[in-house]
Amino acid sequence: MSKKKLYYLLISFSLIVIFLGCLAGPTKIPIITSLKTIFGIGNSLEHTIIWEIRMPRTLAAYLVGLSLGASGAALQGLLRNPLAEPGVLGVSACASLGATIVIYYGIAQSFTYSVPLAAVSGALIGTTFLAIIAEKANSVTTLILIGVGISSLAGAGMALLTSIAPNPFYLSDMVTWMLGSVANTSTFDIALCIPFLCVGFLLLRKQINGLSVLTLGEETAGTLGLNLARNRMLVVLSTGILTGAAVSLAGVIGFVGIVAPHLIRPLVEHDPGKAIVPSALLAAIILVVADIAVRLFPTNSEIKLGVVAALIGAPIFIMIVYRRNNFYEQN
């Protein structure tokens, strides 16, 4: 598929799903009225529902998808491994732990940026650790098992915090951290994350060509002029920032960073650098669709977004592992 056609499709679908996100919800608003409200005509009730409740959560799902899709594609390019992704490798859990510490010890109340900063710090610790280990890990399995270990450790940390936290309601909060949700997102929450998302994307943008040339292996890429250490550091930094921002907005949402790049790579002729932006867009579309499904599914309490993402993504993850053809096996 040509680059132009691919982007055209992804951007069109993005606009469609964002629009549908404004229409979907428990309150029945006629489509015409919704359309009018989106374009500024409508009463205050519909305006509040569409612009203050539905639009922020739709945008949040979109931005989180962009971050996780880009991070997943970038980590896969850096580690040269189709199963690398912030959720699977424990980076999201580390971000979650960072944010949880700040919230439960009351720091969040005095300094608003503390939550995204703490989430980003947690994510950076996770990605840095992974980047170091990846050099020494001699197989895919080792890397993923280490990721599982990191995830479990971070999860245990959060469970510990919940046991010693004074307020019994923090237990349900922790569940949401670990399962992910964009319900109750406000424009303020989004605004808080935007600077981090911008910095993350700007840093990552410059590494795209470097990730492409890593296809040849680190040694060869180095001889072609790629500054390996700098490339590694910037990819680690940008994915940490993007994942941290995504987690501070929506909690841990896994697998979407594997699914989107996996679907996109054949369409970009398996160039890991060229896969980044389309993967981000596709992951964003997937998450918005998942959030719409979550809103419409008839249960008492809304299903968590991360659950739907896992229901879609985990089987695909298993399929990738199972069907890893000879090409990847040799490598």
Binding site: R80, S212, V213, G217, T223, L224, G225, L226, N331
Partner: protein
């Protein structure tokens, strides 16, 4: 005249010298084969020239400039490298893999874009990849993959090409094919320094041979000057017979 020169290069690890007082020259438009047994220091020497390893003592210069003082980016404009590890991380298309060789090229101006394109096309043509340009590398045979890697290396359009065992696991036909491509490049001015185990191929296609054993250069010079059964025995500890017939050396090992 461009050249790479190494003077008294030593690389020490622990108590052993992987390279011991090695001096050599690499000139334009020639094929030089680095031959020797396993562990002789062949790959190490290549890596020193590439700047991946820093010699413990001695100096390697490119056109008079110390290689250690050149940045990776500038070095990339002069030297292309074919690693022993030929694995590709992703099953990309042939033409895209070859195009990766142009990573360090500055593609900002239109003029250089055109030049880049033409270099790419030349590399593809030379390695007979036009017909399989859109195929995935996952579907290629060993011989085809070797040509792809080689095309990638020459797409960089560098005056020097360093190759570490490019003929490994190739059958005879593909070995000869690749050697012919290398000869064409040499004729066009590229200087090739090749590490190889295939002695018959080396002696029949190289301009010069550098014989390495235990990190030391045992002999260096043209094939005619250095190829003797005594030399083969000295380096490889294998008795041999050399016959010259029809313009080719025939080696037999007892």
């Amino acid at each position: 005249m461009s050249k790479i020169e190494g003077r008294s290069v030593t690389y020490r690890v622990g108590n052993s010298n992987l390279l011991d007082d090695v001096s050599f020259t690499l000139n334009e438009g020639e094929i030089v084969s680095l031959i020797g047994p396993n562990g002789a220091g062949k790959s190490t020497l290549l890596k020193c020239i590439l700047g991946i390893i820093k010699p413990t003592s001695g100096k390697i210069t490119l056109d008079g400039r110390d290689i250690q003082s050149l940045s990776r980016v500038s070095l990339a404009r002069y030297i292309a490298y074919l690693s022993q590890d030929k694995k590709l991380a992703w099953p990309g298309k042939v033409k895209n893999i070859v195009a990766l060789g142009q990573f360090g090229t500055d593609t900002n101006s239109t003029k250089s874009t055109l030049a880049t394109c033409s270099t790419l096309n030349k590399a593809m043509k030379l390695c007979q990849l036009d017909e399989i340009a859109n195929r995935s590398v996952a579907s290629l045979s060993g011989g085809e993959l070797a040509r792809v890697q080689f095309a990638r290396a020459i797409a960089s359009d560098t005056p020097y090409l360093l190759a570490d065992e490019p003929f490994a696991s190739l059958d005879l036909k593909h070995q000869k094919e690749l050697m012919k491509i290398m000869r064409t490049c040499a004729q066009q001015g590229t200087s090739n320094l090749v590490v190889m185990h295939e002695l018959p191929l080396a002696v029949n296609f190289s301009d010069r041979l550098i014989w390495l054993k235990n990190g030391k250069i045992v002999a260096e010079g043209t094939v005619k000057e250095t190829l003797t059964p005594e030399r083969i025995f000295e380096v490889f500890e294998v008795p041999s017979t050399i016959n010259w017939s029809g313009g080719f050396y025939n080696l037999s090992f007892n």
